[in-house]
Symmetry: D2
Subunit: 329 residues, 4 copies
């Protein structure tokens, strides 16, 4: 079987970079982004700001929680008491907020981003929200002479800390290229996905498939093991057959199959059940608005929702394997 070390996301990323998916950072980009505003300093935003600062950027930060602002101010950021203060004069503003309503509100309310944004600034929303948020805000930003992009990320808090996030961009392609050097301070890869909202569509579609696959692998492994198969033999067959998928190869949900994955560490860390449930909820909402059927996506959504109700919301989504066995973790 091919080795664990030579396969997977890391290798792929390198290959993609060499094929030109990733533009090398230009040396002069710091001049283009002399002040960066950052709003939303939670588990993702905090390490993203720190990585921007490591690369030499000046970052003005704001959050409704004063402690979060103070924490980053100590680390060298400019702590701000309002959105306006963080946005004022910034060449780029990044937002990392919990849900659609927060993004819409932060942009459009009195004292919001759109009121004080500088002409020519780039606005990147990295929150995972409804794609229509991007389609609503982009023209409003344009009216102010600014450029809005949706740029949700994958990679989780670990990727945010390591600076290896993938940014999926929706909006104008040249604008995507302009902000790429900035985003590569926080991530390892920038993928241009199409017009406004398409970064979000890509993220939602991928995460829906992840949610489905993880349940599929959990059910297949559970079925085979309960019927008497050796878990490692079963995993190796799946990984070399038509059932092969990331959830089986790189993130197998059965404890002890792979080192360094949440399933081998009590399902701690990783990608939480509550987060995949949220993403599947967005997929559900978007599909419903457009009259699209997602029968498996809908059922996966309900299953993670049940796990959340069963107090597994902060466990890694691979805990689905234990959920099928009626076990607590």
């Amino acid at each position: 079987m091919f080795s664990l070390k030579s396969r997977g996301v890391v290798q792929v990323t390198v290959n993609m970079a060499s094929k030109g998916f990733i533009q090398n950072a230009t040396l002069d980009f710091q001049r283009s982004f002399s002040k960066i505003g950052f709003i939303g300093l939670g588990n993702m935003g905090n390490p993203m700001v720190k990585n921007l600062m490591k690369k030499g950027h000046k970052v003005a930060v704001y959050d409704i929680k004063k402690d979060s602002v103070a924490d980053l101010a100590k680390a060298g950021a400019t702590g701000c008491g309002s959105v306006a203060e963080a946005v004022d004069g910034a060449d780029a503003v990044v937002t990392m907020l919990p849900a659609s309503k927060h993004v819409l509100d932060t942009y459009t309310r009195k004292g919001g981003i759109l009121e004080s944004v500088k002409k020519g600034a780039y606005l990147v929303d990295s929150s995972t929200v409804d794609p229509s948020v991007s389609q609503t805000l982009a023209p409003l930003a344009k009216e102010k002479g600014a450029t809005y992009l949706d740029g949700p990320v994958s990679g989780g808090t670990i990727g945010a800390e390591a600076g290896t996030l993938t940014f999926m961009i929706g909006g104008e392609e040249d604008a995507s290229k302009k902000v790429e050097p900035l985003l590569l301070c926080m991530g390892g890869r920038v993928v241009y996905c199409g017009s406004h909202g398409m970064g979000l569509v890509a993220k939602i579609a991928n995460n829906m498939l992840l949610g489905i696959s993880m349940l599929g692998v959990s059910e297949a492994m559970n079925l085979g093991i309960k019927l008497g198969m050796d878990p490692k033999t079963l995993m190796s067959i799946l990984n070399t057959s038509t059932g092969r998928c990331w959830s089986s190869e790189m993130y197998n949900p059965v404890p002890g199959m792979l080192p360094n994955v949440p399933s081998s560490n009590g399902y701690k860390g990783g990608f939480g059940v509550a987060l995949i449930a949220k993403d599947l909820g967005i997929a559900q909402s978007v599909a419903t608005q457009s009259g699209i059927a997602i029968p498996m996506g809908a059922q996966a959504h309900q299953m993670y929702r049940m796990m959340e109700i069963k107090k597994l919301g902060d466990k890694d989504l691979a805990v689905a394997y234990k959920y099928l066995q009626g076990e607590s973790v």
Copy 2:
């Protein structure tokens, strides 16, 4: 992105071989199997017999359809008028039948395999059936001094014709090694899965996961495309992210994404909806008997069943993509 040619199942098979999963055929194995009985000469059995004969084996064939016997007799096989005639004196007997009841009947009825099997013979059932069939027949074979193995295959009619099937074996490991040279006349890979029934369990578990993944990819691609994404961009993002799976990378269900797959050829050929529905029905049945929950497997089963009812039973399972759009093919 890594190239289409250098990845996937072929490469994997080679790697596995080099790591010792596949034993090289011994030169003298033809002496061990001087007569082979083969029962069940349908779309799979027919080319499997032909491949056995190409490698120099004498094969005595039987099917309830006389035409199927005559066809292979013309090609050089020994046509038989009964199971007993095909089995009599054979060193190995291969069965390739539609369903559990046919296998049980062919083995245990008056005039069946068990009545005329030679002491020391190997009996390999390559049908995809309930694992309990193997667990029922193995001890009965043992009483007769013969050795029974379950050895279902993956690869479909194309693999059967090309001689590239994968055999998944359940039963004694040394018996599996003994018949491996014989099976490699019809396939490219033999995987030992464990005790009796485990070959079937492996096949059923893998195919359940395949059935789920294909629906997941179909829903994710359909969602993204309908919301405005470019199909190839979306596919490339899935294939380099956590949604990555065989159904997306090697067998994408959207027409025009990949060459030489059924979705790019009107969903003709490939792995039929009726067959995946049958396999998911076995998974459902086995899970129910053992009190195992397979919520996603059950829903996938029902979706392929609906497609079959919609007269898509003989289309490749990737037709799920079109089904979600309410289109006929």
Copy 3:
């Protein structure tokens, strides 16, 4: 078996009235509602306005479609060119609009209802929308000195024409009693459901259960009939056993079982697939926002969505029976 005529909703309504659920209309209520504004003149709104006029009410009507206004003006209503004109000086305003965004917009935009509503007026929204719409608008109405109620209806276009709708009211109970005489001009029953939004919650919960039951009856009848049972025998067993439900007794989806139901008339009329899909979409959205699991509701939603995609959106929801058979209607 108990007779078709003496059972069901009509009888129940009478019983409920006699137990005091329905207040008798006071003779002087026309004085309390000397001008009524009505906004939204579609398939539901049009006959509702006509029924108000039959009972002697003066109704000022508005719709974005001028033809709809003209049609009712011919029938005796006061045609208006704007929301403000219809609302100005009205003692009560009824809205019957397609979706949440239309209701929110019609109330809160410049020139909307809240701008020109008279102090002391009653505002009843009969649209089927997200319960949060009611919870958002009620306090805004209060600021203007008006009283807002959510009052979605059941009974469909037939009930709207016959004046037999059921109104489910959310808001203050005394306000519900005040508008009851007015609503009974358009309906046969007014049910007080609780605080703001609860009328909508009741409707959504009931329709989710209806959507699930209709699929359940369709599957049970289809299973029994395909396995050889006489359809009428099967129906009578279900109707006198634990499977008994409205969808089986009063609205059986198998053609020829009951007279005067859509299934016996080519699934024409009745409660459209597109409408139940819309209601299940609201249930899904509300459940997701509140972290509530509705696995069967979610699957029912997807099944009606698939029927809509299959161009069955304007057929009665009982067409689920035919859908399971893969037949077009």
Copy 4:
């Protein structure tokens, strides 16, 4: 609202009887059934035998558990040491066994029922099993000059004790009439359902619908209550609207809604989760064999299976309401 006492199954039964569904017991039937064999003396069989004896019948009983035989022998039955002994000379034989394989085995094995059955005897299998069991055994019984009927029951252990079971009969109609007086010693109603297997089909179809409805009511009540509705108001709306069903009216799953139902008594007694899961498993199996789609039935099956895995197997099926809340009972 119509009163709890005057509605429902009891009333229905009376009405049905008056319309001739139930034949009055003839006075001389005890002569026709001078010895009755009864095999399978579990929670159902035990009280059924006692009710037969109360009506003056001589019953010869057998079970693989000797204690069960001894217990009934003390109560006046003829305890037997073998199937043959119980069947020998009996005018009628009733079987009440756990699953298809037990019924098939008890009839066809060496020393089984078919070997020692008396010419002219009636054989009624009251087990809930696959309809094909009846279709297999009926012709074998005929060869022996006996008459086989499938006669599964509804009513559970409470109905078995009270002698109010409903028997659903498949087989020849005149044979059904012949055994009716005997069955009415153990039950309150006999419904002729059609040819062999149809009694089982009726039971399976009804219970599938029950399983679906109970989940639907549980989800609808849970949704409405969590969103703020008063439970009794919500129940009364459902019960007078299109969501009305037995599971809401007669057996509401929310504690405290109805007296004397398991949900108001810690979900003890009633119809166990393990039993509805078993029945849905048979529905699934039968549907799969015949290529019938039951998407909602399949999902309901998986949900009860999950509850069973969660150690709720011996709770009443209404515990679904608690399951949705992630609570243990």
